[in-house]
């Protein structure tokens, strides 16, 4: 009997099904995250079962079949050779797909990019498999690549369909895929950052879509975007060492204790109880008031991250040397009670009694946080020092509560840089970048500017106007309910949304914000409008109390990418 149905489709279908099944099974059994989601598996079945499989059936007749000896009727359709064939193909497909999946899973999270890569890889494996299934015995080149036109057309259509699924936004949403680019994001960034003259425009465009979290790319990009590093890479080394020296100078200037300045040998001794305005001790105690506020705020920085309570690998050298005159800033303001051993003559027994209060009064703060060994510093102490130096050098602005929330993410990014050389100087770099950023933000923090157009009230007005232009209905609803922007937008605008979302999302938002931070952070207004507009259904139907609650406790699990996409859309609509 001549086998006309030379089991093309059978073997092809078996290959694909077994490959897909074993892929999912292996992932589940070994507790790996699932490389393909349900929609993607269905899609594979549709486009594979459809055109390519059907077209295999119209494969032109292979005249060599007639030359083969006849087969026995009793021979099974699925013989050993076929089974081995199927299993080999399936194993190759599964292993290949899992390798790709693993390579993409470096960051440990299943992102749309990982699943898209796996999905596309699987589809192309399948296509190739279909090609190889055209003949059991001959190479494709012997049969002729173009001999089965229907097959070729169906494969091309399937590939086109796959491209559509990856690159067409509505389908991206359905299949939860992401556009793949020729080179990964990280490679693109590194290519730009490696050049001697960095292309700022290109970097800005890339950064706007989010910096990758590995390789310290974000920390370097922020330093460039915040005007700390020039685009001319060759000048960095000398510039950085100079700036860092300056910073150490600032520390020495501002934190030195008054009493230890070399005595001027004048008749009038400056003493600690001096209330005169020109006394350095008076200045010292005034600084302590500012320091107290900074200390309170910095202690509570990012309470859900233990990063700030951990000790830093690069404590300030002057303080750790316990050089006379420099003491940890905290000691200046914390009130402690001394360890006392007392000895008294007991009136009752006539004997000497010793008492010590070492166990009786442990200082309160030691209990709450891990007690660090002498000579080590926690990250929050570093931030405290940066803020203190900043407030001393900008006495017009001083320190206002809220600045700690802005410096927190910046310091976090620089201090978690995988490149140790950058990490070592995170303190100095943070200081300069924070100063540069504050140049644009300072109007928000100064009472003097409150009523002016540039102050925080002016910005909230701008936000309100923008909301009215973009979504009149919501704006009117707010007016009716007397829901003024002061109730919710104040914190959004002053703190750059650092309090509304989890830290990774805040970092992502700030990637986009720092791109145009010189234009008074206009994009921030669009983001705030996007946040409001995305919740418009709930807001339009809610009462005033519910709306205030929703806006003040904006759901932190909202997908930040959606908000940013919406903000870009709004900006485009508004500018048009």
């Amino acid at each position: 009997m001549i086998r006309l149905i030379d089991d093309f489709r059978v073997c092809f279908a078996y290959h694909r099904s077994i490959a897909a099944l074993s892929l999912i099974t292996l992932s589940t059994v070994f507790h790996f995250p699932n490389p393909l989601n349900a929609m993607q598996i269905l899609w594979i079945n549709i486009i594979m079962d459809g055109p390519p499989a059907q077209s295999l059936g119209v494969e032109p007749v292979d005249h060599d079949v007639l030359k083969k000896p006849p087969r026995k009727v009793t021979d099974p359709m699925i013989d050993r050779r076929l089974i081995i064939n199927i299993i080999t193909s399936a194993v190759v497909i599964v292993v290949g797909t899992l390798c790709v999946f693993y390579a993409e899973m470096r960051d440990g999270k299943v992102t749309p990019r990982d699943t898209t890569m796996t999905f596309t890889c699987f589809v192309f494996f399948d296509m190739f498999n279909a090609l190889s299934c055209r003949s059991q015995t001959k190479f494709i080149f012997q049969i002729g690549f173009f001999s089965n036109r229907v097959f070729l057309i169906s494969v091309l259509l399937s590939i086109a369909g796959q491209m559509a699924v990856i690159y067409f936004p509505p389908l991206q949403y359905v299949f939860q895929t992401e556009a793949l680019s020729a080179s990964g994001n990280i490679e693109k960034f590194e290519a730009i950052l490696k050049c001697d003259r960095i292309n700022l425009e290109e970097l800005k465009t890339l950064a706007f879509n989010g910096c990758p979290t590995d390789n310290g790319i974000r920390s370097l990009t922020w330093k460039i975007l915040l005007n700390y590093l020039f685009i001319d890479r060759t000048k960095w080394a000398s510039y950085l060492s100079k700036q860092r020296e300056h910073y150490r100078g600032y520390i020495r200037e501002t934190i030195i204790k008054p009493g230890l300045k070399s005595t001027s040998h004048s008749d009038i001794v400056d003493h600690p109880l001096n209330c005169a305005a020109d006394s350095s001790w008076t200045a010292y105690f005034k600084e302590n008031e500012v320091l107290l506020q900074i200390d309170k705020d910095v202690r509570r920085l990012c309470p859900d991250l233990c990063f700030f309570q951990r000790k830093t690998d690069y404590p300030c050298a002057e303080i750790m040397n316990q050089e006379v005159g420099f003491e940890s800033l905290r000691k200046r303001i914390v009130s402690t009670s001394l360890k006392v051993e007392s000895q008294s003559h007991s009136r009752l027994t006539g004997r000497l009694e010793f008492q010590s209060n070492k166990s009786k009064c442990p200082t309160i703060d030691d209990n709450e946080y891990e007690v660090l060994a002498n000579g080590s510093e926690a990250h929050w102490q570093v931030v405290e020092r940066i803020l203190f130096v900043f407030s001393q050098l900008n006495s017009g602005q001083s320190y206002v509560q809220g600045m700690n929330e802005i410096i927190g993410p910046i310091y976090y990014t620089f201090a978690t840089d995988p490149n140790l050389e950058w990490r070592e100087h995170a303190e100095a770099d943070t200081f300069y970048c924070f100063t540069n950023l504050m140049i644009h933000l300072r109007e928000n923090f100064m009472k003097v500017y409150d009523k002016s157009e540039f102050g925080i009230l002016g910005r909230m007005q701008k936000f309100s106007m923008l909301l009215r232009e973009l979504d009149k209905e919501v704006h009117e609803h707010f007016e009716q309910e007397n829901l003024k922007p002061e109730f919710y937008a104040f914190r959004w605008l002053t703190l750059l949304l650092s309090q509304e979302f989890h830290l990774p999302d805040v970092l992502r938002i700030w990637d986009s914000l720092f791109v145009d931070h010189e234009k008074y952070l206009d994009f921030l207004l669009y983001i705030c409008c996007a946040m409001v507009i995305l919740q418009r259904d709930q807001l339009l139907n809610g009462s005033q109390a519910q709306n205030i609650k929703l806006l003040q406790y904006y759901p932190p699990d909202t997908d930040v990418h959606k908000i940013l996409q919406k903000a870009v859309e709004l900006q485009r609509i508004h500018k048009a």
């Binding site: 600690p272 109880l273 001790w281 051993e341 000895q343 008294s344």
Partner: protein
């Protein structure tokens, strides 16, 4: 760290209160600890000291109303061990050798005593001895006119700066002394 050292006030038995200039100087918020050599004598004075700072350490003097203060105290500030004792237990009063004996007994770097109502600060055998005198200028058994004085210590790890405040002719003067631990 600022530590105020004073004693022998004898309020209200011998003097009615602190001199006006001293009261003006002593404002809350600047001083972190107070070491008092004793003879305050009443609770009102203790309360006044507590308004200046929360951390007040007092030793018992021979005229104190409260018998429950300790006789001697050893306080650790920075790297210094500071001993506090009123001084009426040491005979002869204010004798340098006897003070040295007490210092060795207590094993302290700085010994603060009072009772003589006379300011003194000297170094002996690499150890420092301070007597803040009487902050109110109260009379003594051996001396009927004393200069009001008290001492403010600024302690940084291993170095000590002493500011001596004395009231001479209705005006206060400030002197500065330094001491470093060997």
């Amino acid at each position: 760290m600022l530590v105020l050292v004073l004693g022998d006030l004898h309020i209200p038995y011998r003097v009615s209160g602190l001199p006006h200039e001293f009261r003006k100087l002593l404002t809350p918020g600047r001083i972190q600890h107070i070491l008092c050599t004793g003879n305050l004598c009443t609770k009102e004075t203790v309360d006044y000291l507590k308004t200046l700072t929360a951390d007040v350490h007092i030793v018992r003097g021979d005229f104190d109303d409260n018998p429950n203060f300790a006789d001697q105290k050893v306080v650790t500030v920075g790297q210094f061990r500071i001993g506090l004792c009123h001084g009426h237990q040491i005979v002869p009063w204010g004798d340098v050798e006897s003070l040295s004996v007490l210092q060795r007994q207590m094993d302290v770097d700085i010994l603060i005593t009072g009772h003589t109502h006379k300011f003194e600060a000297f170094e002996r055998d690499n150890k420092f001895f301070i007597n803040p005198g009487s902050a109110t200028g109260a009379f003594n058994a051996l001396n009927s006119s004393t200069t009001p004085s008290f001492v403010l210590m600024d302690i940084q790890q291993a170095s000590l700066t002493l500011y001596v405040y004395q009231l001479i002719n209705e005006k206060f003067t400030v002197e500065r002394l330094e001491y470093r631990k060997a």
